[in-house]
């Protein structure tokens, strides 16, 4: 039975997952090598809890209890008593592989080691451990406290038990798990590619301009946001990187080929909302 969830990485995703786990009444050990990152994460969590109380989404008691259940720690060995680990470090295969190799020596036998990745191979992440059957992908979506979906990704060696335990945990955290194979982009980042790719091609071919494509997709298709609005929100650089990653991992399958417009936007520094300029202008 899972009582303590260890979370590695106190960035946006790690702190978001810690919030979710603590509100689901788990004890949480939140690890990061940076004391500053841990402090920032705790401040962010406190502030989010305060807002949730103000909006009456949780009670003040729930917020206090959840906050008390999160234990920030700098030493990876402090995760030794965890019953389930979620790693949410930076999206770098070598960094993740090193963490998983170290975890192998720290956690007890049979403890599930989940990696929160959107693009890396679960099989590769778990390849240096002695228990690859316990390694699984647990892809939370940003912002983790809000988004309901979790992709549970089965690597080459992931056991049925590991996948089930991960799904059960996701459900306890109030999420909806979907199980998928360890293939590039998993489900969402793969199936969504044509939404952007075709829109960019339509633009490039001069079939319709940005604003018109977005209007059509929303009014005719019922989508909440048009592809260009969404790329601006996600970050054109982030979207481009995901497209390139899926394209490369599929050995240059033409369906996933990035569009020159994306590259040009990135090169020009027009990355979307975060730079106040993308396919639209956000300057006041």
């Amino acid at each position: 039975m899972i009582k303590t969830v260890g979370i590695i990485g106190a960035g946006t995703m790690g702190s978001g997952i810690a919030q979710v786990a603590a509100l689901a009444r788990f004890e949480v050990v939140l690890h990061d090598v940076s004391a500053e990152a841990l402090k920032k994460a705790m401040d962010r969590i406190k502030s989010d809890f305060r807002r949730s109380v103000e909006r009456q989404k949780i009670t003040a008691t729930e917020a206090t209890e959840a906050l008390a259940a999160i234990h920030p720690r700098k030493d990876l060995h402090d995760l030794g008593d965890s019953d389930f680990i979620v790693e949410a470090a930076i999206e770098d295969l070598e960094v993740k592989r090193k963490i998983f190799k170290d975890l192998d020596q720290i956690v007890g036998p049979g403890v599930v080691l989940a990696t929160n990745t959107s693009s890396l191979s679960i099989t590769a992440v778990g390849s240096l451990t002695n228990t690859p059957e316990c390694v699984v992908g647990m892809h939370f979506f940003n912002p983790a406290p809000v988004m309901k979906l979790v992709e549970v990704v089965r690597g080459k060696h992931t056991s049925d038990g590991t996948a089930k335990e991960t799904c059960d945990l996701a459900v306890t955290m109030g999420k909806t798990p979907v199980v998928c194979k360890d293939t590039p982009g998993f489900i969402v980042n793969r199936v969504a590619r044509p939404f952007y790719g075709e829109a960019l091609r339509l633009l490039g071919e001069g079939v319709a301009p940005v604003e018109q494509i977005d209007r059509i997709v929303k009014a005719e298709g019922g989508f909440r946001m048009g592809p260009f609005e969404l790329m601006d929100l996600i970050g054109i650089d982030v979207n481009y990187a995901v497209t390139k990653s899926v394209y490369d991992q599929f050995f240059h399958e033409p369906r996933f080929r990035p569009h020159p417009i994306q590259r040009q936007m990135v090169e020009s520094g027009m990355l979307g909302r975060k730079t106040k300029k993308g396919f639209y202008s956000y300057e006041e």
Binding site: L149, T176, V178, C180, A192, V207, I213, R215, V217
Partner: protein, 249 residues
């Protein structure tokens, strides 16, 4: 006086447009293409015709699947209707410009983004051809307005905007399903919860009909000659089953 419209084409597009036009006060005459029409009934109040009559204000040609059938329907409409009566013809699988060359009055033809269920949205896509008269563009806008829809005019290109994006999403979901990436229900759930799509792509395929989706993707494949647009084997199979059922049930 009630506006009159003649609708020819594939099921279920003809039924969808006929029901909407009827609901908006049109007098509707319609004919379904023989293929794919077995067991299908037109909405009550729609006059079932063998041949289009002269007395119509607009005509809709809604064939997406069979090129020869579409060509025959358009020629028939062109001969039956007065030369200035606009014909709005689905151009998601055959470019409007090409269709216009099949008829004697090419200036009256305007491409239309007709794919099953998309008419439920609040906007209709039109694509003027190189021949389209400006008066036909005005008529298209008025027609959309009479159905309570906005209109957008885009360049004449296979798939237009929404049908092309949507069908390619479905195609990718079918590739993923065929490769066993996830079960269909999980693919749909993931796309709805992970990206806020209004429907899962596979649910959408079922609503639109795999034959229509496969026809659009296949048309893109032919039109662009690129591997990128090859039809997913799973979609191809679903389209075949779809065609079989429509013709045999």
């Amino acid at each position: 006086m009630k506006k009159r419209i003649c609708i020819l084409g594939d099921s279920p597009l003809v039924e969808e447009f006929a029901a909407l036009c009827l609901n908006k006060g049109y007098t509707v005459q319609a004919r379904l293409n023989a293929s794919g029409a077995v067991g299908v009934r037109l909405p009550k109040g729609v006059k079932k015709i063998l041949r289009p009559t002269k007395a119509n204000d607009f005509a809709l040609e809604l064939t997406n699947i069979e090129r020869e059938r579409k060509k025959k329907n358009l020629i028939e409409l062109d001969k039956a209707l007065p030369s200035k009566t606009p014909i709005f013809s689905s151009s998601v699988t055959f470019r409007g410009g090409e269709q216009a060359t099949w008829i004697s009055h090419p200036d009256r033809l305007m491409g239309l983004g007709a794919l099953p269920t998309l008419i439920e949205g609040s906007l209709v896509e039109f694509a003027p051809t190189q021949f389209s008269d400006v008066s036909v563009r005005d008529a298209a806008g008025r027609f959309a307005q009479s159905l309570g829809k906005e209109s957008e005019f885009v360049q004449d290109s296979v798939g237009l905007v929404m049908p092309r994006i949507l069908c390619m999403l479905v195609n990718e979901a079918c590739f993923a399903m065929g490769e066993g990436v996830a079960v269909p229900r999980d693919i749909d759930t993931a796309m709805k919860l992970g990206t806020n799509y209004p429907h899962g792509p596979l649910e959408w395929a079922a609503r639109i009909g795999p034959r229509h989706v496969a026809a659009v993707v296949s048309a893109l494949h032919i039109g662009f000659g690129e591997e990128r647009y090859r039809v997913a084997p799973m979609l191809q199979n679903a389209a075949l089953v779809n065609a079989f059922r429509e013709n045999r049930v």
